[in-house]
């Protein structure tokens, strides 16, 4: 795993990508810091960070798009997968290398709260560092998501677009939840739509139409029965579910000086889940 981590990390700096990513992140950190904290005089670097979290869905896919796609395209994955090393070590090595690249600008930005502390009248370094940690963990979970999409396709562009689309939707969950209609029947229809998506994914993974259809039919029957028994439970239900997982929105808790452990657990869980999905995606390709 260490060998893969080292090679991957070095490969980012063998060409422009690593330097580009570090430079762009530093540019964003530097801009918000100079505008909000130096010019506007705000003592909270945490708020500045919360302002740039919405750029992560664009930047992270650029970092992750080549991780597995490029290996597949150039067939170097044959070296990795025929070496006496397990798939989870390969995935973890690559993941940690990308996290390390992302960590460089984040670590450099750790100097900003110190600057505020040394030069400002007020400073809240603990809040700032807690927010930086949350920001880093959100970025790390985005990297896991981007890596998963890179493992499903040979094309870097498609990997980046899929990751961007997914991350964009994720970061818009709170806004989306407000736009979803409240009517019971419309919510029920959305659930049926979700069942259709689930059916398609299940069918793609198992290649078994009947099994997938049975699962789909069961889900539809369940939705219909629940709707018949208690239609009120569908009122605004999709919006509520989306609102209850405000993922990116949780960064604000840290900025408000709340060290929200459930959010930390959520970020780490998402990372672990998508690294796991990446491993499954590679294994599935070996067996298909």
């Amino acid at each position: 795993m260490i060998a893969i981590l080292k090679r991957e990390f070095k490969s980012y700096f063998n060409d422009m990508l690593g330097y580009f990513m570090v430079a762009v992140f530093l540019l964003f950190f530097g801009l918000v810091f100079s505008f909000n904290n130096i010019q506007a005089g705000s003592p909270f670097y945490a708020y500045s960070l919360a302002g740039i979290i919405s750029y992560l869905p664009v930047l992270i896919p650029i970092l992750t798009m080549r991780s597995f796609s490029e290996e597949r395209r150039s067939k170097t994955d044959q070296l990795l997968l025929t070496s006496p090393i397990s798939v989870w070590k390969i995935a973890l090595g690559k993941y940690l290398a990308m996290v390390l690249v992302f960590a460089i600008p984040v670590l450099i930005s750790c100097a900003y709260p110190i600057i505020i502390y040394m030069t400002g009248d007020y400073a809240y370094p603990l809040t700032d560092y807690a927010t930086i940690l949350a920001f880093f963990l959100i970025g790390a979970s985005y990297i896991a998501i981007g890596m998963f999409f890179s493992s499903v396709t040979e094309s870097q562009i498609i990997a980046a677009l899929l990751a961007f689309g997914f991350l964009f939707l994720m970061s818009m969950l709170t806004e989306l939840s407000e736009k979803i209609p409240l009517d019971e029947w419309k919510n029920a229809v959305i659930f049926v739509g979700m069942a259709v998506v689930f059916f398609l994914i299940f069918f793609k993974m198992t290649q078994n139409f009947y099994a997938s259809f049975v699962v789909f039919a069961c889900l539809c029957i369940l939705i219909m029965v629940l709707y018949k028994v208690n239609p009120d439970m569908f009122y605004g239900s999709v919006g509520q579910i989306l609102h209850s997982i405000p993922y990116v929105g949780t960064l604000v808790y840290f900025a408000y000086n709340i060290f929200d452990i459930p959010s930390i657990v959520l970020y780490l869980s998402v990372s672990v889940f998508f690294v796991f999905l990446t491993i499954q995606s590679i294994q599935k390709r070996r067996y298909s």
Binding site: I4, K6, R7, S11, T76, P84, R286
Partner: protein
């Protein structure tokens, strides 16, 4: 020792590898031969753990590639068809990375990298970026990485494809040296001779390098033997080819005494004017070259050429592949007929059900899943009787 047991790989319903079994022994170079799409690369990819089989297993030193993949893979050095090299690394960096990947001990890494570089004659290129190397040198880098970690089993997938003739000879020499090393190569104590399995669709290459040949077509292993045995096995007739300056009729007349012993095959189409060619096939062991010559000389027929025709490995290969093609076509036809028959029975049963027949009748007509061959045979018989 490597044992491949009943290996099957299906893509959908199509078998890419169809129940292949063989055993490979140390110190030998095996040639994996087959036409394009025969299943060579798929078999090799399964043997190296790159893809998983649909059925069967590969045991490397009694270690299953499915149950204990990490240990099994530690015995393998693999050069795929496209060398798996990273263009942004130097040769030395890349090889060092591979030693780390293969879990070579820290103090042995440099020694192993040097050994691989020496063996593949890459000394002058060790600090070059791989992206700046030619195809031949990339191939050498690929071969060098396959040698790292002292693998007991080296798999090379079409190692000479796309190389120039000089590079082809170099690579062949390198492959031979893996089993019979030259004096310049330092060998560790107790190091066992490896098994080398190389795939190719070029017969000369395989016959020049390999001790044994495995011929595969349509995913099935057709034959596994030494080149000499293969020739001996398919050299069932003594064939003589005679080119003489005379007419076919005259040649036929002069050689009339041999008519009872041999089959005659005239083919003078490509010959210059006035020259005839005949092929005489005798039973094996008929040493008649001199007798033929004397007969022709006595009749005053000017002989341009008289030669014994021994089947080449290439001819044997083509012959075997052609036979396999026929068998495959027959199998496919049989399969399609079987499918059509099944569909026919199902369709028949459906019509009967639709016509609201009695339950007894529909039971007879519709074969249930998992029914024995006997019952389906009976149905076939019934169907035949009806017609």
């Amino acid at each position: 020792m490597i044992e491949v047991k009943n290996l099957v790989k299906r893509y959908g319903l199509i078998p890419a590898v169809d129940n292949i079994s063989f055993t490979l022994h140390p110190g030998k170079i095996y040639g994996f031969l087959g036409p394009n799409g025969a299943g060579k690369s798929t078999t090799m990819n399964i043997m190296t753990g790159y893809i998983a089989p649909t059925g069967g297993d590969v045991l490397i030193n009694e270690c299953s590639i499915l149950e204990d993949p990490e240990e099994a893979k530690s015995y393998i050095g693999y050069l795929p068809e496209i060398p798996p090299v990273y263009p942004d690394m130097t040769v030395e960096e890349y090889l060092k990375f591979v030693t780390e990947l293969k879990g070579v001990k820290r103090d042995e890494r440099k020694k192993q990298v040097d050994m691989a570089i020496n063996r593949t004659r890459l000394t002058d290129y060790r600090r070059r970026l791989i992206r700046n190397l030619s195809k031949g040198y990339r191939q050498r880098v690929g071969l060098a990485q396959a040698l790292l970690g002292n693998p007991q089993f080296i798999i090379l997938d079409e190692p000479t494809v796309g190389l120039d003739p000089k590079q082809i000879l170099e690579i062949r020499r390198l492959i031979r040296e893996l089993v019979i090393p030259d004096d310049s190569v330092e060998k560790s104590e107790g190091e066992e001779k490896p098994i080398v399995l190389l795939s190719s669709h070029i017969m000369q290459e395989v016959s020049a390098v390999c001790d044994e040949i495995l011929i595969i077509a349509h995913g099935r292993l057709i034959v596994m033997d030494t080149p000499e045995n293969l020739v001996a096995r398919y050299h069932t007739k003594d064939v003589y080819e005679i080119e003489a300056r005379t007419t076919e009729e005259n040649l036929n007349e002069v050689l009339a005494p041999f008519k009872e012993m041999a089959e005659f095959e005239f083919d003078s189409n490509d010959m210059p004017e006035g020259v005839s060619k005949v092929r005489l096939s005798f039973a094996k062991g008929a040493d008649v070259a001199e007798v033929l010559f004397k007969t022709l000389a006595k009749a005053g027929v000017p002989v341009r050429q008289l030669r014994a025709v021994v089947p080449t490995l290439e001819e044997i290969f083509l012959q075997l592949v052609a036979k396999s093609d026929e068998e495959y076509a027959a199998r496919e036809e049989e399969r399609m007929k079987e499918e059509a028959r099944k569909n026919g029975i199902v369709a028949e049963a459906e019509t009967e059900e639709a016509a609201d027949d009695t339950a007894e009748e529909s039971e007879e007509a519709t074969p249930e899943e998992g029914e024995t061959e006997e019952s389906s045979d009976e149905e076939e018989k019934e169907g035949g009787d009806e017609t």
